[in-house]
Amino acid sequence: MTAQKERLIVVGNGMAGIRTVEELLARAPDRYDITVFGAEPHPNYNRIMLSPVLAGEKSFEQIILNDRAWYEANGITLLTGEPVEAIDRAARTVTSLSGRTLGYDRLLLATGSMPFIIPVPGATLPGVIGFRDLADVETMLEAAAKGGRAVVIGGGLLGLEAANGLALKGMDVTVVHLMPTLMERQLDPSAGTLLQRELEARGITVLTGADTAEIIGGGIGGSERVTAVRLKDGRELPADLVVMAVGIRPNIALGKAAGLDCGRGIKVDDAMRTSDPAIHAVGECVEHRGVTWGLVAPLFEMAKVLAERLAGGTEAAYAGSVTSTKLKVTGVDVFSAGDFSGGEGTEDIVFRDAARGVYKRLVLKDNRLLGAVLYGDTRDGPWYFSLLKDGADVSAERDTLIFGQGFGGGEAASPAAAVAALPDSAEICGCNGVCKGTITAAIRDKGLTSLDEVRAHTKASASCGSCTGMVETLLAATLGDGYAAAPAVKPMCKCTTHGHDAVRAAIVAHGLKTMSDVFQALEWSTPDGCASCRPALNYYLLCAWPGEYRDDYQSRFINERAHANIQKDGTYSVVPRMWGGLTSASELRAIADVVEKFAIPTVKVTGGQRIDLFGVKKEDLPAVWADLNAAGMVSGHAYAKGLRTVKTCVGSEWCRFGTQDSTGLGVKLEKMTWGTWTPHKVKLAVSGCPRNCAEATIKDLGVVCVDSGYELHVGGNGGMHVRACDLLAKVATEEEVLEYTGAFLQLYREEARYLERTAPWVERVGLDHIRRRLVGDAGGRRALHARFLFSQSFSQEDPWAERAARGVDRHEFAPLAELVG
């Protein structure tokens, strides 16, 4: 037969295009006359190995997949450095940049994708690059040779590999990431946080929640070369090189210009055919069933299908892929696959070994694996991935699944057996470095029978307590039936086995500074807590790290997010602050005006001597605040777990019985304490004489003025369980009143459990304890007071002003959309 071979032209000499050719050659080596156009000057290389090339772990020669001899041997015409510029579908020809026009019978588009460059000012300056091809790697290596600073925008797979490579090459690297945790599309927040710590330990600076505003250049008019990156919050990061790795965009220009159906990518059917039956497409440039892909595994599956079709088959079809990812940073083991977002009908199995830095999370649904995230120990990644892809029923091995494939060879395959199987040298308590042998020996030799005894003798589980479960298992295993678990402390909530006090202690002892740190170190069983632990943790962290921890907005109850009280019908009430209960004509006038202007239905004087405006619509809140602010009033924090009011009587200024200036002292106390965050709401009062018109003896802290000075009363409550205060001390001066008050509040802040008011707290810890700390220990009292003032220096900002004037959290008050009709 002398029939002419069909002409196949491949545009794109990358991973998907050439894989298709390889597969095709294996099936029908003589069917086509193949020509490959490549925009890059190189033969086909393994793009995913560019990261090791950048890191200096591989050379370019080592990552070439097919050298020129291979093309020749297979009779393929390779045209490198020659991008295709146009397709003439009617004439079935392509034309390249150099003007060459060739005819085809079948055309394959495999043009890959381009790095997405965020359109900020300065994005096109020299020194700003993507991470895509060898040319980018060369630019990076050149910059790194001069040392200096690099900013990598994007904390995903690619960005982190770039950052790691540049750091290894000696650059000072900062990663700027928009999301709160790294690689958020592959990793859940816990694993993301571990990864961040690992990278930071390697000297890479990681800024999360950071949004790029502008890239700044040197020279006149900023025209020369990049010098810095400015973030939206105003921070400026000096930079000699900026790598953008925020995502990719399918390279569809050629296909689109030729009139092919395109969405985000060139649209293909299950046979990898575009809207023109003579034209096929594979790789990152395609959109299949609405999905685009950015990893090689699915592209290789596509290549196989297309090769089958090009070879004459009619059956092969591509149906989408399940993918898994690993980060190619030497020494960092990260693996993720499937859907780990959890939810309806799914169950989480979470394993955390804080000491070893191992975190594993499996998501199951109907006894099948839906997703897996592994950090620190990824040995079983492939096994989980195959279970996941096969949709295998795992009910039989569910109990031990998290321990991996190698586990449970013996007869008793259970989590307890896993601990029992550990060698004596295995470290159980990471905090105190106690290994298994030490614990079992102590149990046997010293006849220990309880967790507390083990703690006392070995220190194991005596610090953060995250190994408590393992220690108990060891006790049980060593003592057999002789061991009965001690009654546990009441856990904070369903997400944990730890009580409030243990969590607070661990936050301070281990320097846990974020919520995900806590979740990780204390082995929370849920990915992001619940409505009961999150607000508590948010408070504990805020209290432990004043000025450092940033309030987690979404972990606050709505009142503290909207800075107003939600009422039964979903409207809000607003209470402006009136210092010590004092007001003036202009304040009252402003309030009256606001009431009229916003048609506020109810105005009520509160028990704390303030004025409460009820029935304000949420979207009106910023405008109401703006008007009140304009009259000099700030938020009364009537919604806060914090200081609400300082109630006063008129005292010596007007009252014939008054012994001291109770109103003035009330104002001073309120100025010192407003804006504080406390475990629960706090109310103070000052009465000018023992007639006690301000009801100071049923407040969290009440001052009763007497001729010789001031009586301080604490722990009172006028709520559901009425409790009269205990007398704490008698002092002589206003300064002492302020110092004792600050110290008392700080002790309460540091020791009470979230949502525990002072009254139950005082009863729980005992008045003696509080007297000892505040009266018996003057130095300790002053230190507490100083800590109180320090934390106040960060919290006395009027939340209304921030929102009314500066638009903070504006989204909170406006609907996303209004669809009428």
Partner: protein, 117 residues
């Protein structure tokens, strides 16, 4: 089947804070759109099946929200109250394309149970 459903664009995922929510006003009342920590988006009628509390104002955790009024916990995917409570805040199908959120308002399942104060 999918083609028959009318989708209405309401905004982008980025406009909803993570673990937070925004409201869309519609002819049949407010719809609350929630964004989870893992960037899933769900839409429920903004009325708790208990006493009509505005679910949009609750704390989002996992794929659930806790009502701000009396702490009922509601599944975002279905609107069902988590046992022992019973009731459902109706849900609205959501589609996300290129970060843009669309709702299938006509395909919503209305809530049931409780007083819709």
């Amino acid at each position: 089947m999918d083609q028959m459903i009318a989708w209405t664009e309401v905004g982008s995922v980025a406009d909803i804070p993570r673990q937070g929510s925004r409201v869309v006003k519609t002819a049949f009342g407010d719809v609350a759109l929630f964004r989870t920590a893992t960037d899933e988006v769900f839409a429920l009628e903004d009325r708790c099946p208990h006493k009509g509390g505005p679910l949009s104002q609750g704390i989002v955790h996992g794929r659930r929200v806790t009502c701000p009024l009396h702490n009922w916990v509601i599944e975002l995917a279905t609107g069902e109250a988590v046992a022992p409570d019973e009731g459902c805040a109706g849900h609205v199908p959501v589609r996300i394309e290129g970060g843009v959120i669309s709702l299938a308002l006509a395909a919503r399942t209305p809530g049931r149970g409780g007083c819709h104060g």
